[in-house]
Symmetry: C2
Subunit: 267 residues, 2 copies
């Protein structure tokens, strides 16, 4: 099933949409945060007649299981090129799963357009076929890995062999299955699509619940693969951040992401 | 007037608060974004019986002028230690000024508590009295500079003398007037309290409207001054990000911030 189908929403009435959390997009039973964000943003785009996310923040309120969800969209401002809306996702029993704020656009920035400053460059990665695809399992690696194309840098996958690198960095390629084009929604999923960088430190390899995720989509990707790098610099008082950079195949920045998460606990 | 007084809110009814955008907290007539965020978060803290912001995102919808504002708070989740709420700020004529999502806490992380990873350190700054305080003027530097203590690194203030450094970096100290303690609200103001880093490039020194600001408060500061560094790496297609780090006097990270802003235009 494509991301477009898995994140599809159907308008029920003004500001109300029906969607479905599809099975298999989960980590330890809870649907991936980027995927949930994509469902919410899909409804925002429909309600605002916009095409592309620009900046989206989601706060995660409860783990989402497969099943129908309702998205409520509250438009807050509609401009000529940008619109801002709040969105919330709830399960059939009324449990709030996610709250989001999104500013979306009628057209996406074109990669490489009006570049006045670009400090940084994509991570150097072996070709996707020389990187490591974690197999989807019932536990770890999670089922989600079977729904997307995540190819990890061979140097950064050491954690999966019980030999973390000691550097809280994870690099790799992100793409969708079956050559599905990477729209803005795909970028949101990519921004939360990798194992936490702290898996490469001596912290437990366990669920690392996202409190909040913010993604700035700086250009709509034109390539099938994104070169991605995620890094954590600070782990303190039970919280950590993970910063992401996502680049397209032509070396243009596609997105910056940052999330705040809880430090994982040994099971 | 203290920040505590300038950001004060009064409960009108469940989820509804009255506040006032005070004069003098503006840049080119529009109230500072961190200050507006502080008003909204103050209402969230009151409504949720919490003491400290943990992660807050605001989308800015219209410039805020001095005058009464109404804050609506919608609690979304209440846990044992954390609560999440949406908040919106509107002027007396009903204009939506800001929408925010906030996860707040019943107690702030203590600086230096359970530090498992800390890559990075505070910017090296001369003592506050050897840094440069921009004077508040009616135009530029803005009135806001008279409401807070911003002391810029002498190397980074070159833009104010028409000689930008060429590096999109601004470092300096942030504090409040009259030794007012820096609570979590003060951290929010500090995260948006500095001139945009791109003033040190050849971009116009002009209003740089914030689309969205996210602040992760990683510890409640214990010092009067915060050592701050702001940097912009990417300016493209009309947008730029500014990343901030705020550190306390003991060298503990207090906050990470990121905003998405519009590229300023020559007047």
């Amino acid at each position: 099933m494509s991301l477009a189908a898995a994140a599809a929403v159907r308008r029920a009435s003004a500001g109300r949409y029906h969607g479905e959390v599809q099975p298999g997009w989960d980590i330890a039973g809870a649907a991936n945060g980027g995927y949930l964000m994509a469902i919410a943003v899909n409804a925002v785009l429909a309600e605002t007649n916009c095409s592309d996310p620009l900046t989206v923040t989601a706060h995660y309120l409860a783990p989402a299981r497969p099943g129908p969800v309702e998205v409520e969209v509250a438009p807050l401002r509609t401009g000529r090129r940008l619109a801002t809306a709040g969105a919330s996702l709830a399960s059939a029993d009324g449990t709030r799963l996610l709250a989001a704020l999104a500013t979306v656009a009628t057209s996406a920035p074109v990669p490489g357009e009006q570049v006045l400053l670009a400090e940084g460059r994509p991570p150097r990665l072996p070709a996707p076929q020389e990187c490591v695809r974690l197999p989807a399992t019932e536990t770890f690696p999670p089922p989600f890995m079977g729904r997307v194309e995540v190819r990890l840098h061979p140097d950064d996958v050491a954690f999966a062999r019980d030999r973390p690198t000691g550097q809280a960095v994870v690099r790799g390629w992100f793409g969708l299955l079956d050559d599905e084009p990477l729209s803005g929604l795909g970028v949101l999923v990519g921004a939360d699509g990798f194992p936490p960088p702290i898996f490469n430190t001596d912290l437990p390899i366990a669920w690392t619940p996202t409190v909040e995720l913010t993604v700035h989509v700086r250009a709509r990707p034109t390539s099938r693969w994104l070169a991605c790098a995620f890094r954590t610099r600070f782990v303190a008082a039970g919280y950590l951040e993970a910063d992401g950079e996502l680049w397209d195949g032509d070396g243009h920045l596609v997105a910056l992401s940052r999330q705040l998460a809880l430090v994982p606990r040994a099971e």
